[in-house]
């Protein structure tokens, strides 16, 4: 037993290190030599990782559930008293470890990846700022700090997506991500405001304590949770606000790995898991989440089948996996969701970094149709990519298997149909991932101009570390079925209240696993036949194909539907408002005021001759009159 409170004070160091890194790299942007910014930034993140690990052990050995570190009084206006405080509990620690640990690896990787970029110092500054914001998000002890981190990561994401801002398409992608996030954020801040009006506080502890007393299914709770869900949907790229994430791949690959796979997009998951008490009390919202999550998982997986850009494939798979997490959240299996967040962070970061390594090797080429045969050229990347692919497909004993299986099992507990759909999505995932894998690494090299080569050590070492994590990450939570003790779930249980669910027979469980594994094996073989044996290469983008294929390739026309449903009506409305209301009513009113003023002005102008002495005279006379008035009248 260790007394937690004295040690918890060092928690402020965790976000402080990246902040310092950001300050150094941004202020000394022009002074730093080539690699210095990267080294500083990586060191800072690594330092905060070390601090987090330390905190982890402290928390574990203390036996306490949570601790709050209040730094200073932040907002104090009327009733609203919000301290700037950090909440350290198991949930936030898990997130901190993911952010700082994977963040550190990605920072190190970026030293190699961004080596030749001229704005490398800005890059690291922004990455550090992102890490800082993300840490604020997960460490904040109330919704306001969470919101600040929320907005901070959104802003950094915007900056980093548009990092190569000279390309207008990238700029557009950045703007799109920003705007879509804003839609979600609107819901989110409304939710926070509702929270405040309901509970007169935004602090987690107080809100949850008060919420526990409320009736389950109370309308106000449903409203709040729905509004918060809107925020989560925006941030975590669920239907219908998911289209920004594939476009966000415009940013540098480490950014995609860190922000758009491992950390930021899971912020929504984190937020809902954090508010699990509220969600437990709002069954309607949970059902909405199940539907949303499952739809997202399946639809985006289908879309992923037809993508040819290596990063786009990964992006859709991310969205799909996020859908699984939402499914888990909706099922009330919060710890399962967070567990999937963790394993997903490992293997998806690994996938992105591997993709980055490949892109690096191919000289910037991202089209998988032009790759191929990289197996021998890039052995380390090949190996690590294989591990990651197996992990995401859910092959035991890789980490993805455990987390995905957990979610599937939970789904089966609720309804076999859910299980079936979820499994279908997982199979599709498996197929397109192996499609990607085979196209990239097997066959012949299809682009003759590139000279692929293994990446430098600064890039491969993070890959290896991550692959180890992807390989063994699942053992954190070995289910009882395999003789484990569900360590992760128990660990998180202290911070997150999961819904009670029905027991499931272990034989059924084993059966389910066997079914899914055999299906997966078939899918892998299928993919092997298609892409290795037959060496099928996907058709070019413009090639005629079936309707479904076209629909899939066009992402179910979601962007177009958005345009038709939202953009055009708004455009018409604004057009109407501009042409009739503004020009005719408002402008003429304003102009009338202006004309009146100028008429009056031309009358008064004779006094306004710009002669200061005259003004002074007038002023003195006025004061005189005033005093005389007061005194004698």
């Amino acid at each position: 037993m260790v007394a937690l409170i004295p040690y918890i004070t060092i928690a402020w160091l965790v976000p402080a290190f990246p902040l310092v890194g950001f300050l150094i790299t941004s202020l000394a942007k022009n002074k730093l030599k080539h690699n210095q910014a990267g080294i500083i930034a990586s060191t800072m993140v690594a330092l905060s990782f070390i601090t987090s690990v330390f905190l982890f052990f402290i928390l574990n050995s203390s036996g306490q559930d949570s601790a709050t570190l209040t730094l200073f009084n932040w907002v104090s206006a009327g009733d609203l008293k919000i301290p700037f405080a950090f909440l350290i509990d198991h949930l936030s620690l898990v997130m901190m470890l993911i952010i700082t640990g994977i963040g550190a690896l990605i920072h190190i990787y970026s030293i190699g990846y961004m080596h030749d970029d001229e704005r490398v110092n800005s890059f690291f500054a922004q990455m550090n700022l992102f890490t800082f914001s993300m840490l604020l998000l997960v460490m904040g002890a109330n919704y306001l700090i969470l919101f600040i981190g929320w907005e901070g990561v959104g802003f950094c994401s915007y900056l980093l997506i548009g990092f190569w801002f000279k390309n207008p398409a990238f700029n557009y992608a950045a703007r799109k991500a920003f705007v879509m996030n804003r839609i979600g954020d609107l819901g989110f801040i409304l939710g926070i405001i509702m929270l405040f009006f309901t509970f007169k506080s935004v602090s987690f502890n107080e809100v949850f304590t008060q919420a526990a007393t409320l009736q389950s299914g109370a309308p106000i709770l449903t409203l709040i949770t729905l509004l918060l869900l809107v925020g989560a949907v925006g941030k975590s790229a669920q239907i219908p606000l998911f289209t920004w994430l594939p476009d966000a791949m415009a940013g540098p690959t480490p950014v995609s790995a860190l922000i758009h796979a491992a950390t930021m997009v899971t912020a929504g998951i984190y937020m809902i898991a954090r508010s699990s008490i509220l969600y437990n009390l709002a069954p309607i919202t949970s059902n909405v989440m199940i539907v949303l999550g499952l739809t997202t998982a399946i639809i985006t997986a289908i879309v992923g089948l037809r993508q040819n850009d290596i990063k786009k494939v990964l992006a859709y798979s991310t969205v799909s996996q996020l859908g699984y997490m939402f499914l888990a959240l909706g099922l009330g299996a919060y710890s399962a969701a967070i567990f999937h967040v963790t394993t997903h962070a490992f293997f998806k970061a690994l996938l992105f970094l591997g993709a980055g390594s490949i892109i690096h090797a191919m000289g910037g080429e991202q089209d998988i149709r032009k790759m191929g045969g990289l197996r021998s050229k890039m052995p380390i990347t090949f190996l690590t990519f294989l591990i990651a692919t197996l992990a995401i497909s859910g092959i035991p004993p890789f980490s993805g298997f455990f987390s995905k299986d957990l979610i599937l099992t939970k789904a089966f507990e609720t309804s076999p149909w859910l299980y079936a759909f979820a499994l279908g999505g997982a199979l599709i995932t498996c197929f397109y991932m192996f499609r990607l894998f085979y196209l990239v690494f097997f066959g012949d090299q299809r682009l003759s101009s590139a000279h692929p080569h293994e990446s430098p050590r600064v890039m491969t070492v993070p890959l290896l570390v991550l692959s180890v994590l992807s390989l063994f990450g699942g053992f954190l939570n070995i289910p009882a079925l395999f003789g484990g003790n569900s360590g992760f779930e128990n660990f998180l249980h202290k911070a997150v209240t999961s819904k009670e669910s029905g027991e499931i027979h272990s034989a059924t469980e084993i059966g389910l696993i066997i079914v899914s594994l055999s299906l997966l094996g078939i899918i892998i073989l299928l993919a092997y036949r298609t892409y290795v044996k037959k060496s099928t290469v996907p058709a070019a983008d413009g090639a005629p194909s079936s309707l479904i294929a076209r629909i899939v390739a066009k992402k179910f026309y979601l962007d177009e539907i958005f345009a038709a449903l939202i953009e055009k009506p708004f455009g018409r409305l604004s057009d109407f408002l501009f042409k009739s209301v503004e020009v005719k009513v408002l402008d003429s009113a304003v102009d009338g005021v202006g004309t009146l003023t100028s008429r009056l002005g031309s009358l008064v102008r004779r006094l306004q001759q710009g002669n200061i002495s005259f003004y002074l005279f007038a002023m003195v006379a006025g004061i005189l009159l005033f005093i005389i008035f007061i005194l004698f009248v």
Partner: protein
Amino acid sequence: MKELSSAIQLIPLENYIFLSVALFSIGMMGVLFRRNTIAILMCLELMFNSVNLLLTAFSAYHSDPSGQVFVFFIMIVAAAEVAVGLSIVVMMKRNVDSIDINLLNRLKW
């Protein structure tokens, strides 16, 4: 010093009021009278100081230091005002080669 410190008991407060009113009026007259911007600034200082004197007198007669603290603040404001005012004069001299206040009738150079 004893004699000096009890001096206020001998001088009626009215005297200070008369004096500062007179100084204020002189300063005011100067502001209206002169066209030289620097001289006008000086007359403003004069007016400030008459107020200072009055504040100090009241403070002394009330045995309350707040008045003198206000004088302190007025000095601060005066110093800031002079710094900005004089730089405006310098700029004016540069731009129109004169410091006649009547030439300062354009809003923008």
